[in-house]
Symmetry: C2
Subunit: 227 residues, 2 copies
Amino acid sequence: MSSTPLTRSEAKDLTRRRLIRAALAILDTEGETGLTTVKVAKAAGIAQSSFYVHFRDKQDLLRVLGDEGGDRLRRSMREARRRAREAPDVTEHQRDTFRIPLEAICRHPELLRILHRARHDPSSSMHEFAKEASLAYRDHHAADLAALGYTADNERDRLRLEMIAEGINAATNALALGHLEGRYPDLEEAVDVLVSLSKGALRMLKSSSAAAAREAGPVAGGAGPGG
Amino acid sequence: MSSTPLTRSEAKDLTRRRLIRAALAILDTEGETGLTTVKVAKAAGIAQSSFYVHFRDKQDLLRVLGDEGGDRLRRSMREARRRAREAPDVTEHQRDTFRIPLEAICRHPELLRILHRARHDPSSSMHEFAKEASLAYRDHHAADLAALGYTADNERDRLRLEMIAEGINAATNALALGHLEGRYPDLEEAVDVLVSLSKGALRMLKSSSAAAAREAGPVAGGAGPGG
DNA sequence: AATTTCACCGATAGTACTATCGGTGAGGAA
DNA sequence: TTCCTCACCGATAGTACTATCGGTGAAATT
């Protein structure tokens, strides 16, 4: 009741925020197929035609959603790295490295679900953005692992580190969603699993030049890429 | 040119196969949004209205696609387990356990992409099917890991084994898709990474009752489930 | 106070898709 | 040969959504 009289631009911005919020909710519950200007406008409390006061067209809305998601993504990654650095010891630093992304996902699971879908849907308006975001996540994980002391000093190890990071990233997402679906009630157990997964993979990295043959057997026999 | 005169039911079945094949291709390249009776019928070389000779409606087509995918899934999982058992030694058995699913994905990546999308899209006609398939894959991986000698003898380890299996499964999918996208040219390297990931995780499992504290630090401090 | 701006509205043209219907001709049974 | 069956066809009714347009009233400007 203090400042209910809004200026026109404030009111417009508020409506725009409502549209974006509504769009995210619909995207999460009904997918890109279910996202229509009719539903978004109705959920935001305005007429369907007024949608076009705020966005040039539907494509434009998706683009804005992608941009906002990207910003939120970058901010949360910076924040995560900052917080992990504050851990008292190495073990806790390791656990933080995996706990923080897990908690971030659980706070805004709809963003991951939307990205996840777009990542594998070539027809999605957010497909390219989702691919970039996915690579950014992988590189973030790779940097995390490097920060834990596992550096790659040659091309082969660099590629391996990327693979490990991508694998760990996928596992993190899967466990977070499993937690949200109620299958894994204890998030700390998920942290344990991720820590141990990474330990195994990074053991390989450390011993790659010396005992590669013993660790993984004859490796060079390369199968070409699949069809 | 030998038996071009087909019976009517043979010809009908052929058309049906063409429709299913076309639907899968469109689903892969354009997503569920782009899957229309117009496109499917045209790609199969028949009139749009003739679509309804073969399927009651679009939903029916999706259901059939799900069923066929399920069959193919179960067959390929059985086949994979059979082949892995034939490996000459333990190391090769381990590698086969991860190589076989990787190769299976690379042979039919469109199936994984379609499932992946539906898995995270509540509006998808194949959503429930994709969730079940995902759990089936996880349990398949869990059985594989158990076959490698890592058994869970209590409730906590059973849940951990499930988490490890789900994580490894997600990593497998991610690496296979990365390989297909050209980021990881050597599939054998992906096998190495998966083997090492699993080794790390299963080390935790084996030592869970005895040396849990040394392996992962204080573990019991349980944080509740997230929001 | 007079005028302009503009966020929002209802109506609607245009587009794309789903599903039905009556017809047709070649396969198959009598 | 005669009749029936049915996979396929074109046309079309019905539905859902996108995007545009002229109008309206309150905020903002003069």
